[in-house]
Symmetry: C2
Subunit: 333 residues, 2 copies
């Protein structure tokens, strides 16, 4: 038993409980202790909130911490489990993935008990925590190299009923953007696995760039809206926005909406998040570094779109993403 | 001669010239070619503009590129030399320093001809470009892990006359903040070396966080203001600001104004850039990751201050900087 993932405490205890999810050791490193908070108020929705899936998206862990602080005085029914940091090794390394094995936690679900440390984390979450919840909020963000609005998203789900419920849940955050995000490579994602287990799973993409006090207040309010919608806490839903967001929109981004860099160099953004662009409008410019006479390359909108996210002046490789476009979601509205 | 740093072209040519600064090879890697632009309009100020001193501060290279685009139609006298990327190896690695030798280019000036690649870059700039200029603008920024306003700064200079001229030059950018920045560790900085050579040197600290189209427009306008003040281009000076900046201020930050993390963990910012804070006001909170019961630690203002820059939710080590405070500069105004 000591070699199986387990909790150090009983989440069925009434009221607040705290302890750790034990991820057993393996060939690459010893046992890992992930702090977990639980609040059991009996009958009602069973929600799991996770953050820190990627180590350079720290809005999630911070908003999860705030939730833990507020829930004892706010939650009126049901059960909430909060695991603020899924991947402390990546957080400490300030990188998306864990340097130890180079793996992306969000591509190895449901994990392997005899795998690398990241596969063992996924295994522990899949086997110990996921079965206890019917709804999951996984708190991500676009990270420091992107500018984008606070959003809640889901990938397409084959089960149309589950997709509709998921979009409805995402819209309940009342964040500026609710997004249906087409993605080639969804195998091993936490959401795909949770969907396969029949769970309602939404993924917050809490903006990008710096994590400011203002942004955290917006994200916290969005999460609170969702808890109110679930009936876990009482209160009024409030519309939340950052200055650059005028309205709340439900958008769709397709695989073909990801604009890639035509060459290696420094990307210069030439438009802003949530700008409406026409076909041919300039999105950004790619500047090769090796020569000033080398032509800088304009990257243009292939069709009328809304700018969902734009790269932040970083050095990029050829074919690396520099912008995501989007358009109003038509299939359900 | 082929083993000494040199330019591939003659900067004394009238009008526009382009080519490379050749940094000779050494034990660690071969020759490096840094693209250089020159515009010679005869008599007048001689200005050197550099960017990309640190590899994760790309506002400078982008604004330098824009300058190269605009100068041929704008410059009316004098000479301007532009080197958009001092340290392409760090830019490609997306890190402040160069992975090859781990050295900070801004701590090795004036460099060494027989040193590592970064010392050879500093040597080439010090020996070939610096003697041709009387004024230097080195375009930095706070990088992705900080929120801070667009600023132009100088470290204290022993020569009071040069300090006064430098602050005046910095204020000519008309960016929201002009800063006198006390620093323990100025040995080997580009500015210290240039000051020792009697040059007027200002360092732009073009904000932090993401490099947005809006931010680039502000920085470009600031640089243009400085060129107008120098008489290199004709035009009107304009006040420039980002939304969070209400006024233009000249501030001072002391060594004791750098607030450090009391422990390892995730830093949560609790105030905003340019906020005025009283003694004891909460600046941020440090959350250790290993336990939810471990007390989170409040980081408070030690005295009345203006928040100059605040860390952006990153994981930090004990004693790592999380905020810089400042106050109005009194010595000269």
């Amino acid at each position: 038993m000591s070699n199986a993932p387990h909790l150090t405490f009983d989440l069925d205890t009434a009221g607040v409980s705290r302890g750790h999810l034990i991820v057993p050791g393996g060939a690459d490193r010893g046992e890992l202790l992930l702090p977990v908070f639980g609040l059991n108020k009996g009958e009602g929705p069973r929600l799991l909130v996770t953050g820190g899936n990627h180590g350079n998206e720290l809005e999630g862990p911070l908003v999860a911490r705030r939730l833990i602080e507020r829930l004892p005085n706010a939650q009126t029914c049901g059960r909430v489990i909060v695991l603020p940091v899924l991947n402390p090794l990546a957080v400490e390394a300030r990188s998306s993935n864990t340097p130890l094995d180079g793996l992306d936690l969000n591509r190895v679900f449901p994990g392997r008990a005899d795998g690398s440390v990241i596969e063992r984390i996924a295994d522990a979450v899949s086997r110990v925590l996921l079965p206890m919840a019917e709804i999951v909020f996984d708190l991500h963000s676009f990270g420091p190299a992107w500018d984008c609005p606070p959003a809640v998203m889901t990938h397409p789900i084959a089960d149309a009923d589950l997709l509709a419920k998921t979009l409805q849940m995402a819209e309940a955050f009342k964040l500026p953007v609710t997004l249906l995000w087409e993605h080639y490579d969804t195998a091993g994602m936490f959401d795909s696995w949770a969907h396969s287990q029949g769970k309602l799973f939404v993924c917050a993409e809490f903006g990008g760039g710096t994590v400011s006090a203002e942004a955290l207040a917006v994200y916290e309010a969005g999460l609170r809206n969702a808890l109110v919608a679930l009936g876990l806490v009482e209160g009024q839903v409030e519309n939340v926005s950052l200055s650059h967001n005028e309205s709340i929109q439900t958008l769709e981004t397709l695989v073909s909406d990801k604009l890639k860099s035509p060459a290696r160099g420094i990307f210069e953004p030439r438009c802003s998040v949530l700008d409406e662009v026409k076909q041919g409008d300039l999105i950004g410019i790619l500047h090769p570094m090796d020569s000033l006479s080398a032509e800088s390359i304009g990257i243009r909108a292939p069709r009328p779109s809304i700018v969902l996210a734009i790269g932040s002046g970083a050095h990029v490789d050829r074919n690396e993403g520099v912008a995501f476009l989007a358009r109003p979601l038509k299939i359900l509205n």
